[in-house]
Symmetry: C2
Subunit: 228 residues, 2 copies
């Protein structure tokens, strides 16, 4: 355990590039000798603190991102399908309640990120694959149920996720991301030889691998490893 390099993945389910980064890192968790730590945060807070603007506000960038996400989703084998109204889903509805819910899942399951992983994936699937809401309690219940959580657990989470404790937890994780000079998500922080190396986005995996002394085998390492 102590010899494994720690890699923190800061993410928000409103961010499609975070989904790509999340799936790739979950696949590599057992391929590379790393201790992957999932860090749910609120992208809106990071954008505000850093003064960054969403890339989709530049029309050519928005068009490119649509193509880029389609190509990357296919190549990475992640079922990315943008919501019919991305601006409504991402900016008007947003992800504050969803990420508070994920933070509550993490708080309730200290010591294991397994449920955080499963619930986050179901939330991404809702917004970035099935064009479904992620803001209403009913939506959170559905996602948690699909993730395999029990009725009792979900009831408890619904009481927790609007509490001051969980709001503060998400806020403090988000501030921690900002402390790493974040200006967007996903953000990966590698702890190597007492130093921290930050990587932004879902297009620095090869460089990240190089930095932690591992090898990039493409977005589907187990399939690739099987081929060797």
């Amino acid at each position: 355990m102590s010899s494994r390099k720690v890699v923190e993945l800061f993410f928000d389910v409103v961010s499609p590039y975070s989904w790509l980064g999340f799936e790739v890192m979950c696949r590599y968790r057992n391929v590379w000798n790393i201790n992957l730590q999932l860090r749910p945060v609120f992208l809106g807070g990071i954008m505000q603190a850093s003064g960054n603007k969403p890339p989709g506000l530049v029309p050519n960038k928005f068009m490119y991102m649509t193509k880029d996400l389609k190509r990357l989703g296919e190549y990475f084998d992640v079922p990315l399908h943008p919501p019919s109204d991305p601006f409504e889903a991402m900016f008007n509805k947003g992800s504050l309640s969803a990420m508070r819910f994920v933070a509550a899942v993490q708080e309730k399951n200290k010591g294991s990120d397994q449920k955080v992983e499963l619930v986050s994936r179901e939330l991404w699937r809702r917004i970035w694959s099935e064009d479904k809401d992620i803001t209403e309690p009913a939506s959170l219940i559905e996602a948690a149920t699909k993730a395999g959580l029990s009725v009792g657990e979900i009831k408890e989470l619904l009481e927790m996720y609007t509490s001051k404790e969980i709001k503060d937890k998400l806020k403090s994780s988000t501030q921690e991301a900002v402390g790493h000079d974040s200006f967007g998500l996903p953000m990966l922080v590698c702890h190597v030889d007492g130093k921290q190396e930050m990587f932004f986005g879902s297009d620095r995996f090869e460089l990240l691998a190089h930095c932690i002394g591992e090898k990039w085998l493409g977005p589907k390492p187990e399939k690739s490893a099987a081929k060797l």
Copy 2:
């Protein structure tokens, strides 16, 4: 010749990510079965037409880019060293005259991009490695001399690069880039089965390789191939 896939690389020597893209594509030109076409354009015109803002204006992004370029420069083996005052070099001084000069080199050497490649590399080396000017005629002469151009050729280029013909040529190439929905550089346009696929930046080589039916072997393919 006709069976080779055409890949156009739109670049500006003011852009460090363009330099990475340029060196990688020049290395892959003989590894992949492609016809690489160098397309000198003016980044300032693309930013204005697309309404995009330079990423370095967000402080956290600027700090990240500095680290990112250092890491990428080392990993890609490109001697990237930011100028002491990047804002002065990139925005106040800019690259309009340098890119007109490169456009003149291309106009004078139709049919071969070899001199375009050599002169562009010397210009990048000046601004992005040695913190030297690229706006004055004396700077262009020095770069062209290092690139191996003769005194006679350089004299002719100095007469050409401020002509209406060359100004219009750079303008029309820049408009062509905007027509591909560009919002920054480098931009790669692959012509595959009668269709065009556009890739932005220096972090989609693996996806680009997949798209043209080739394999990504890392930023130094010949070394990597030698290892196999």
